[in-house]
């Protein structure tokens, strides 16, 4: 057992180190490319201060691109982690906050918050959290007690909750002529374009404690994957662990949604990729998902803003274009 622990620790260090480098590289690429051009060379000179810096470029770098890439990294990390936790707790490889409708629920909460004229923080964040908890309860309520069909029941109830949430969102959007909802279509597809340092700071304050809480349960999640009885015999307090993990994850998701809208499938792509590469141990998967998910989101957002000639795409379009086909592939593979 001791030896095993030290092997895991070594892998943890390796994976964390390697993926940190990947994330930093993604952040640097994200910083060097943007709609105003500027070019890599100028950006690097600005960084390294080899020549007197151009104040305009500095504002663009530090006040527009930096908050945006940091926001993308945080959101990507949180959503990937959310996917990983849902997949472990619900023991369903296709579980993901967006697919289960949790993101949709928090979007409804956020829109209600916007319509009530609440402030972005804490008002909208709270209503959004309320929305995600409500959908979580709904999904768990619908899908329990159907042990044989459990896997499909969960996905189906997720699909239904998601459809219902979309309908409620469209209802709210159509019923109101509020100019505050002008940007809503963009926001619904995931929009990182208005990321500010303040926003990033708020997200950090919320997300980092969530990361820590979830990390403390890494080994518990390993045990829970082995089955209820097994986990209980190993001393896991299943109900409590479930409750804490689900609520923490919902909080993470709703903070992300209230700041950046609906970004789907990140929590599917990243955990699957790393499970394939690193095996099933959550003590290694958790940091991998946070760092790798962050890097993935930064790159998706980069594609979203670099691809169109005019303006930009919502980042959620890119993640869905990559993620939805993967979902179908995984579904087909798991149900031969």
């Amino acid at each position: 057992m001791k030896k095993n622990e030290s092997i895991i620790f070594k892998r943890f260090i390796q994976v964390t180190g390697l993926l940190s480098v990947v994330l930093v590289a993604a952040l640097l690429i994200g910083l060097s490319i943007g709609s105003s051009g500027g070019g890599m060379a100028a950006v690097w000179k600005g960084f390294l201060k080899t020549e007197p810096s151009d104040p305009v470029l500095m504002t663009i770098l530090w006040k527009i691109r930096l908050p945006r890439v940091l926001l993308a990294a945080l959101v990507g990390g949180a959503l990937s982690l959310g996917g990983l936790v849902f997949q472990a707790l619900l023991r369903n490889p296709l579980a993901e906050p967006y697919i289960l409708g949790i993101s949709g629920g928090s979007a409804i909460g956020a829109i209600i918050g916007i319509l009530l004229g609440l402030s972005q923080f804490p008002g909208i964040t709270l209503t959004s959290f309320g929305g995600s908890l409500a959908t979580l309860l709904l999904i768990v309520g619908i899908s329990t007690g159907q042990s044989i069909l459990r896997k499909n029941a969960l996905l189906l109830s997720g699909v239904m909750v998601n459809a219902f949430c979309s309908a409620v969102i469209m209802f709210l959007v159509s019923m109101t002529q509020d100019t505050r909802l002008h940007n809503i279509i963009f926001w619904l597809m995931g929009d990182l374009s208005l990321g500010s340092l303040q926003q990033t700071a708020i997200l950090t304050v919320f997300l980092v404690p969530c990361f820590i809480v979830i990390f403390m349960y890494a080994n518990t999640m390993n045990l829970m994957l082995m089955g209820k009885e097994m986990a209980q015999s190993m001393g896991v307090h299943i109900r409590r662990a479930n409750l804490i993990l689900l609520v923490t994850t919902s909080l993470m998701v709703s903070v992300c949604v209230s700041q950046c809208g609906l970004i789907g499938f990140v929590g599917l792509v990243i955990p699957h990729l790393f499970r394939l590469l690193l095996g099933p141990d959550h003590r290694v998967l958790l940091p991998a998902c946070i760092l790798g998910g962050g890097a993935y989101m930064v790159l998706c957002d980069l594609v979203a803003r670099a691809l169109p000639q005019q303006g930009e795409l919502p980042a959620g379009v890119i993640t869905a274009l990559v993620g939805a086909p993967l979902f179908v592939y995984l579904l087909k593979r798991s149900n031969p």
Partner: protein, 294 residues
Amino acid sequence: MIPILSVMASFLMLTSVQAQQHQVRDLLGRDMAVPVNPSRVVALAPNITEIVYALGQAHRLVGATTYSDYPQAAAALPKVGSYVHLDLERVVALNPDLCLAIKDGNPISAVSRLESFNIPVYAVDPRNIKSVMDTIFRIGNLLQADNQAELLVSNMRSRIRAVVERVAQTDHKPKVFFQIGVAPIVSVGTNTFIHELIEMAGAQNLAAGKVVYPRFSMEQVLGMLPDVIIVTSMAREAAFERIRKDWYQWQDLPAVQHERVFVQDSNLFDRPSPRLVDALEILARLVHPEVFED
């Protein structure tokens, strides 16, 4: 302490002389310092671009939004995203010394981000003919074009007066259904400048009421028996024909019987700019062709 203060004071004086700024209050009542002679202006909405051009101050413009296509020269300006979805990076890259924003359209979050970069954002709120004129005066004042603003507005006023005098020759007030959205059918309520134009043109707006942009079913429109139907669309000729045809299947409508279903360029009717007067003249001719026969 005193030497430090005096150094700071002289530094402040130096920068204020360099930048030559003055305090102004925008149309939303927000105070700010703007350059006395702004030379790098970004217009954050198409109607603002039109106003700046109409004031003859286009040489100050360094950027505009995606759909700023009037006058034609404006299309060549560097673009900074659409007015509801501004690309902040492009705005900042143009190094503007003044941005001109509209209250209804530019998101407040984007405006406050720009202000956090020390770019003054002067907001205007043109929502009817009077406030378009106010906006023209204010922007004229900001861009050292008071005389041009005076000229432009007095020209608008005399053209409006000419239209109003013309339509006063008749007591007949045709019922107009003004359609700004095709699917669903959307019209304009009382609190819009299109309503104002309809009234000035000597007609009545069938959709008048508290709701700003009311929706209608086809049934409701048929029941109101409009004498004139005006549809504004961004679409081009082919689509214009299709929209007209759609209405012509209802042969009982007075507007159809008298062939008075018209499709107009939406840019003319949905931008609170000096061209609202063009829109008024067109509208008056469409609803009262009899008094314009000459």
